[in-house]
Amino acid sequence: MEKVIQDIWILNDAGAVLYHRVFDRNVDDQLIGALLSALNLLAEELERGGLSNFELKDKKYIITKQHGLSFIVNSSKKTKEKKVKEEIKSIVNKFFNLYPKEMLDNWDNDISVFTDFEKHIKDSLQDTIDKFEKAFW
């Protein structure tokens, strides 16, 4: 069963990665760094809340920007775009609910405050399927 969203990066305007969840750990870190810088530049062009997407190799990338943060996610090309967009919307909302703008404005560059985010973004369908697989399938 594939996740709707595979990798997630959340970057601020300065290019610092506040949070990331990497699905495929074999991907080269340097490549990721270069990719993120390019994507962050692209994100700067986005209007607040706008979405941009492109395809690279076997993955589809979606970028959205809100309150000075860029949310970059990727998914399999086979996954329906509507589903990915719904999931990224939910991730953005959860992030700002957990870490309000006021808190982010006063952030002291300690990324450990965002480590808890992982457990809040397990997508609900994947969560349900995981439970069914463990208990029944």
Partner: protein
């Protein structure tokens, strides 16, 4: 009297087949539990044990009539136990317990946690249902029996309608064919379970109006049970994880 015995005999035969289907499903769930050893598998086992026993006691009530086994209505505990089996009340009690456990299962597999208000409502209604089906009883009072079936039907809807909605949502969202089929089967299962008690309640209304019962709705109820059993099999047992 002869007609009543004949109708009960047909019912007994029909329910024997349901009992076999339910027993097979129960064994398969037990087997699954020994493989998975998971809390949710155990919960599923308890749920279907409740349903299975409910069918056993329903079948037993037909056996009482067919074999003309009866007790003196002297208000004793034996007479009470006989009555709650014969008038389906013990089965309704077991189904109520199974529905409550289904609610716990539903929250654990489909939700991120309990909704406090919903949890209180489901618990209080379940308690009310248990008290009604076991204590609000009068021998040969069909009016009270119709209500007992309706109360359990409403409880079924309270728990299995959201279960149905979640199963359909998951069916629509998931892409893997085997899982899609599993969620669809669970949707069929929950819909069928709701129909069982709706049909029984309608059948009881005919009894209340003076009929002998065992109308088409009685048989539709058990056909729904068969559909539910197959839904449970294809939803819980048959799918194999690709991991």
């Amino acid at each position: 009297m002869v007609e009543n015995i004949y109708l009960n005999f047909i019912g007994m035969i029909f329910e024997s087949f349901i009992l076999i289907f339910a027993a097979v499903l129960l064994v398969l769930i037990l087997k699954k539990y020994f493989i998975k050893r998971h809390n949710l598998t155990r919960l599923l086992l308890l749920i279907f044990l409740g349903y299975f026993l409910a069918i056993v006691f329903s079948w037993l009530s037909k056996v009482f009539v067919v074999t003309q086994l009866s007790v003196v209505q002297d208000g004793s505990i034996n007479a009470y136990l006989y009555n709650i089996v014969e008038d389906f009340r013990l089965s309704e009690f077991l189904v109520t317990i199974a529905i409550f456990l289904s609610y716990i299962l539903k929250v654990n597999v489909f939700e991120k946690g309990y909704n406090t208000v919903q949890k209180i409502i489901v618990s209080i209604y379940g308690l009310f249902s248990c008290v009604y089906v076991l204590l609000i009883y009068e021998n040969n009072n069909d009016f009270l029996d119709v209500f007992a079936f309706l109360i359990v039907f409403i409880y079924m809807v309270m728990v299995y309608a959201p279960f149905l909605r979640r199963a359909i949502e998951s069916y629509r969202a998931v892409e893997e064919k085997a899982y899609k089929q599993a969620f669809l089967s669970l949707a069929i299962m929950s819909f069928s379970f709701m129909l069982i008690f709706l049909n029984f309640a309608i059948d009881r209304v005919f009894v209340f109006l003076g009929g002998p019962g065992f109308t088409v709705f009685y048989y539709l109820a058990w056909v729904s049970a068969i559909a539910g059993i197959f839904g449970a099999y294809y939803g819980y047992i048959r799918p194999r994880s690709s991991e």
